[in-house]
Symmetry: C2
Subunit: 234 residues, 2 copies
DNA sequence: CATCCAAAACTAACATGCTACATGGTAGAT
DNA sequence: ATCTACCATGTAGCATGTTAGTTTTGGATG
């Protein structure tokens, strides 16, 4: 059987790759928080027209990573403590519900994917690579949601956590937030899941999530690195 | 304080009104489930160009009310039991979390808004007006979410329940699903909130939500009204 | 030097043109 | 009668032009 005649899935649209590029740039910190994003400039930079860029920015606005101000311009989001707290509470609710379902109905896959993410994170932590650690972290929490098996929750989650992920990178790089403690918490959560202890798992999710908000609170009070608001990096 | 100097919000864009029009048409059943939606045709019908229509359809896709098939066309969503069940589970999770928070932190507003929605629903039920009843129902559940006070959850909820609301209208009109029982359940939930009994409230939310899925399951098995898939109503 | 105003530059919203792809019907071959 | 290739038509993705609102800037005036 030739592998050349496999099912062909339609080539990804320009808009999709644009979304991915810009999202990655924001999460990686290449586009600073509050940075102005001109459709025209981004289009020129990527060598495409304004249409897919416009569509991409609209999609990213839904994810909370971009703010579009009518007739004025688009900007990378700027988090405030209240918003971060709310997003965090929201994702806690989704993760707790999902982890409970996953422990009950999808235990094997849950453990497998969590463990895989953990090794990746451990590797990144050893090398002090904050960006890779963030990716592992995303993978870890995604595997919880995915193992929950609810597609509506999965897509909603994807459209919600963007800002938190961006912040995580910033917290880890700008100040060097403690990777080791974070790593420990993930391993503890993995163990609770292995033991099928849903109550303990929920508790750990709460604790773990609270730490991110704490770190952000500290960052806000200590430094003012977040109001850099670089006018145009793009 | 003059009300003339209130905050001015920018005039609604064409895209926004287009979103609202199409959403209303779907929820009201004017655009049947599975109906084909041509950008060009909708644009002609509304007397505008394809751009805002295109943007609107993209937004409605995020809400789950429209499915866009690349190069083929856009269609009003067609629900399957699994998807409906998942959306329902999702919204239950959000409503239960919100109602618990609202009872604890925002009791007065919660009761006020729920009660207002209830009178509206009772009125509609008396007149057997399914569409108005659905609107009251949306208002009721929205007031739960809003009183929870979490903006992230609020916007996520809005982008999630569209398909359920559309189904509710269809279930009430096509078959005449029992308005009275639904009304009773809402009143019971109102009472539980008044008594600040969060556990009972959560239980009632679960029961109430399950009934919608049950009704849909019955509708699916009894009639095949859902595969009408009218080719072009637009 | 500070202030005000107008003009220029910039922005996204919206309109329209073009192209690749999907689909349905039909004519021709078997 | 059936299958096939082709063509006519419809579709959205993308490019580009136009418009209207916003911001910045440059200079004149106090």
């Amino acid at each position: 059987m030739s592998s050349s005649l496999k099912r062909i899935d339609p080539p990804t649209s320009l808009m999709e790759v644009t979304v991915d590029r810009i999202r990655d740039a924001i999460i990686a910190g290449e586009l600073p928080l509050g940075c102005k994003l001109s459709e025209q400039r981004l289009a020129d930079m990527l060598g495409i027209s304004r249409s897919p860029v416009r569509d991409a920015l609209a999609a990213l606005q839904v994810e909370g990573l971009v703010t579009i101000s009518p007739k004025r311009g688009s900007f990378v989001f700027t988090p405030d403590l209240k918003a971060v707290d709310e997003i965090n509470e929201h994702r806690c609710i989704l993760e707790k519900a999902s982890i409970r379902k996953a422990i009950a109905n999808n235990h094997a896959a849950l453990l497998k994917n969590m463990a895989a993410a953990c090794t990746r994170m451990a590797e990144a932590a050893r090398r002090e690579d904050a960006l890779q650690y963030t990716r592992g972290d995303m993978e870890f929490h995604n595997s919880i949601i995915l193992s929950g098996g609810n597609h509506s929750i999965t897509s909603s989650y994807k459209r919600t956590i963007g800002p938190l992920m961006a912040l995580r990178t910033h917290l880890f790089t700008i100040m060097n937030e403690n990777l080791a403690r974070s790593m420990k918490e993930h391993l503890a959560l993995l163990e609770a899941c292995r033991a099928k202890d849903a109550d303990e798992a929920e508790r750990l999710v709460d604790v773990h999530a609270a730490h991110l908000v704490d770190a952000y609170r500290v960052a806000l009070s200590e430094t003012s690195l977040f109001d850099g608001l670089s006018t145009v990096t793009a």
